[in-house]
């Protein structure tokens, strides 16, 4: 009983420890000659480490260009775009907050893993179109209005600690995971983790996509809640816990992050669920008020080219979106999330409120009463 | 020889008749086609000079009737038309020769001579009997170096007798060929001409033999030779 109480309080504490998202001071990469006249400014939500290889390869192609790459959270990227815009445009139903946005120069390219927020920017007229042979070669789901493009795919997977769980025991599908969660032996009690949907853009999007595709999504979250699931707003946070052994399994974890750690020697295993594997994309758009849009175009075309995609795969461990070059990339259970107006639905305030309420209800409430 | 000129143009006919008569032929003239055709039915001529354009009966019709009767009298046609078709037509109908107006008299005479030659089978106008040379074109007879003086009628008589070389030529025939309708010939005219001719032919290879009651025969000591020497 006491152990359970301690576990529960730890879980609670862990939950409480989760702080609401606030604007981070963006980590910045500055590559290229300092006196270069061509300066490409990229704001992105991707970890600088992940993008370093790509940026270096791009720089090798255009040695005279300087690239300034700043890492920011997806919400910040969105809010900044709204604040920056001086020309009249639709006022977003989501209140912009970041004040630091004004201080920074306008980016030429915004790359975010938050597909819905990027789509909303495009819908509300914040992006400018770009057409090229590379963009035309993209599959339909990977671009919308020629204003937002998927540059690489990320599978949402189960990630588990190999010490805590043998490969053969790891669940292969959501049904198996649900069964494992409902197992009276409680193997995953307090050991399951996932995104904090309320505070993670990508987490929210993955959760809403699950709600659409999986009839058992609600049951899954409820089951996770019953097992005192731990939620984290950041992929790294989640993976740290799994690596340390605090958690056995993470649900909806970005594959590339896990792969990087595995390459560094972490005791992690990855399962692509075979009922369906959600593939989210990192999407890029060129803001309408970009100062050097032609440089952004150049970068986009590079990233979408065969060389760029190949570098992406190698350096960032992302899936290629050029299905015309690699037809096998999205076969089987892979389900890419498509860019389009559908993504706007879950951005609706009321809808979001409803969803979060339901989700919190499923995961949060139960977690509180997990210890019995 | 006895020639019939059928031509309706007075002056042309006049010229023709006068010319042919000068040469020594016995020439009759008709200007009406129908009458001319009738004349041809009952009178024989050695040659007919026939104009195509005639009143009442055209030259071609006269010719056709002539040939239909089987009459082989040589016919020389004259016409003002120049069509080759007319010529061919005329020759086909039975003309022996054809001459277009206006013509040169010399040509006319030569053609007449050629037509008159035919029955005899002579190929040219020069006939020789040994030293005797008869020039049909010039209408002269020479024996050796000496030219025999033969007036027109006598020459014509010789011509007539030559045609019937070796056979009897009756007095009627001679008379018919020697005199035209209008010529006045006495009953003894022929004997007179024969006598004169006989005298002139004395010594030549040709001699005239009288066949009592029948007529006269011209004999040649040597067979005739024609062409140049």
């Amino acid at each position: 009983m006491k152990t359970h109480l301690i576990m529960a309080s730890i879980a609670l504490a862990a939950l409480c420890a989760v702080a609401p998202a606030h604007a981070l001071d963006g980590e910045t990469l500055d590559i290229g000659p300092a006196e270069a006249t061509d300066v490409l400014t990229i704001d992105a939500s991707t970890n600088t480490q992940v993008f370093l290889g790509i940026l270096r390869d791009f720089q090798a192609l255009y040695p005279g260009m300087r690239v300034v790459y700043t890492e920011l959270p997806t919400q910040t990227l969105y809010d900044d775009a709204l604040t920056r815009r001086a020309v009249p445009g639709p006022a977003s139903p989501m209140a912009p907050e970041s004040a630091s946005a004004a201080a920074r120069s306008r980016p030429d390219l915004i790359i975010s893993s938050s597909m819905d927020l990027q789509t909303k920017l495009v819908n509300d007229g914040y992006a400018q179109p770009h057409v090229s042979p590379e963009t035309t070669a993209l599959p339909e789901w990977a671009r919308w209005r020629n204003e937002v493009f998927s540059i690489g795919g990320e599978a949402m997977t189960f990630v588990y600690n190999t010490h805590a769980m043998a490969a053969r025991d790891a669940p292969r599908s959501r049904q198996q995971l649900l069964a494992m969660l409902r197992d009276p032996a409680q193997p995953l009690q307090g050991k399951i983790g996932t995104y904090d949907v309320a505070h993670s853009g990508i987490g929210y999007m993955a959760a809403t996509q699950d709600a659409r595709r999986d009839s058992m999504a609600g049951a899954l979250w409820a089951a996770m809640g019953n097992r005192a699931a731990v939620v984290d707003a950041y992929s790294d946070g989640l993976l740290d816990r799994i690596e340390r052994g605090e958690l056995t399994l993470g649900y909806n974890v970005l594959e590339s992050y896990a792969q990087r750690r595995i390459a560094a020697g972490a005791p992690l295993g990855i399962v692509r669920p075979d009922d369906y594997t959600l593939v989210v994309s990192r999407v890029a758009l060129i803001p309408r008020d970009a100062r050097r849009p032609e440089l952004a175009r150049r970068f986009l075309d590079y990233v979408l080219s065969a060389r760029g995609q190949e570098t992406m795969q190698r350096e960032s461990r992302m899936l290629t979106v050029r299905t015309d070059l690699d037809a096998k990339a999205f076969t089987g259970a892979m389900r890419p999330v498509a860019l389009g107006t559908g993504l706007l639905v879950y951005l609706d305030d009321l809808k979001r409120q409803n969803f979060l309420q339901a989700w919190r209800g499923a995961i949060g409430q139960r977690a509180a009463s997990a210890g019995h | 020889m006895r020639i019939l000129v059928i031509e309706d143009d007075d002056d042309l006919a006049d010229a023709l008749v006068r010319r042919l008569r000068r040469v020594g032929h016995a020439v009759d003239w008709q200007s009406d086609g129908l009458i001319a055709s009738g004349v041809l039915e009952y009178e024989h001529f050695d040659l007919v000079v026939l104009d195509v354009g005639l009143p009442r009966l055209s030259g071609l019709d006269i010719l056709m009737r002539l040939r239909e009767r089987g009459d082989k009298t040589p016919v020389l046609m004259l016409t003002a038309r120049a069509d080759i078709e007319d010529r061919v037509n005329a020759l086909d109908v039975g003309a022996d020769d054809y001459l277009g107006k206006p013509f040169d008299f010399r040509e006319l005479e030569a053609r007449c001579r050629a037509l008159l030659r035919r029955p005899t089978g002579h190929v040219s106008e020069i006939t020789r009997f040994g030293g005797l040379t008869i020039d049909g074109a010039a209408r002269q007879v020479t024996f050796g170096e000496v030219r025999l003086d033969l007036p027109k009628r006598e020459y014509s008589l010789l011509e007539i007798l030559l045609r019937g070389l070796g056979r009897v030529v009756s007095k009627e025939e001679i008379s018919h060929k020697l005199f035209a309708f209008d010529d006045e010939a006495g009953p003894n005219a022929i004997e007179v001409y024969i006598a004169r001719l006989r005298k002139k032919l004395d010594g030549t290879p040709l001699r005239i033999e009288t066949s009592r009651g029948a007529g006269y025969i011209l004999h040649a000591d040597r067979p005739p030779a024609s062409g140049d020497a």
Partner: protein, 463 residues
Amino acid sequence: MREFPTLARWSIRRRLLVPLCALFIAAMLVLYVAARGYGRQAADTSYDHLLQASVLSMTDSLQLVQGTWHMDMPYAALEVLSLAANDRVFYRVTDGAGRVVTGYPDLPAPPRLTADDPQPALFDAAYSGELVRFAVLRHEIAGPEANAVAIVQVGQTRLARDALATDIVWRATLIIGILTLAVLALVWVGVHRSLRPVARVERELLTRQASALSPIESPVPRELVQLVAALNGFMARLAGNLDTLRVFIADAAHQLRTPLAALRAQVQVALDEDDPAEQRRSLIAVDRNAARLTRLVNQLLSDASVNHRSSLQRFERLDAVALVRDALQDVVPQADPHPDVIWHCALAHAPLQGDALMLREAVKNLIDNALKHGSPDRTPVVVTLERDDESWRLTIDDQGPGIPPAQAQTIFDRFVRGAGTRAGGAGLGLSIVRRVVEGHRGTIVLSNRVEGGLRVSVRLPAA
């Protein structure tokens, strides 16, 4: 050559194609305008249905909870609009008081809304820098205290529907365009094939000899039958003319050759002749034939000149009295022995409209004829000119044999000579005269005089 108006010179192809072209271009324009209207309408209708479906779907998910509106937007509400792949979407839900429940707060206001309209109303308004199509529905449900109203508005940019409208329009126009081209091509081919019989006739005529005037053999369609018949008729007349001409030339040649032959023959005889009397005879004959030739040539030339003149029609004001006198002067030989020609004319002047040369030739011919045939023993020929009502009457009386009644008409034809005339003339005279008289709208009558002889009566209208 008359100048025909340019329009008359158009080819049949052009005549058909130009109006057809114009018609089709006009039709295309009309259809384009109609198609544009229809296209917009059709595109709007189809996409409007989606917009309305979206509004209805959102309205369906509205719930009144404790006096406030709640909406759990169905995925389909915006997913259905993704049929227009590149269009942006905007939406807003407000309550009865105008407070925004959710969505884009600054959407343009809708026009008057009636409560009982079951279907969402549609309108266009500018938003976010573009023209946006909106559907709006006023939704009212009964609440605990009072009725609650919600206004649901969904909008979508017009890219897809404009593209569809354009597509419809251009397809329609393309079809019409293709149809036009097809029709024009068909007409072109049709005309070409229809004109083949003409080409055939043309070829037949081209390959003909100049003298071949037989009727055209090629079969022709009904429309051309009359033309071909007219052409055949024309050719027949031409052939007739040519035959007449040929006969004329042949006869003329014949006529000329005979006196020439006589001339030549007589000369040759004269050259051979020693007898002066015979020579003289020949010379007289030469003179006679030379005169014949002269007369003949004159007549032929007169005929030719009359022919030529009659096609020129140079009429002027003349005095018939002077004219006849001149003619008499030309024709009647002055040297002895000269024939007796008595000239009666009481008039000082006899004005008329005519061609001096032609009239003179005609009169000369008549007098010449009278002298030649009507004065066998130098009996006088009487020429009278007098007034007869509105005309001048010229009468030539002779005491010759006259003409047999049977020949009264044919005597006027070329080369027909009166009975008893022999190689005297070519027989052209009277045909020339008739042509001249008719050309002057006059009349000529031949009659036998009671006292014997021929009377020629010519009437010409006075000026």
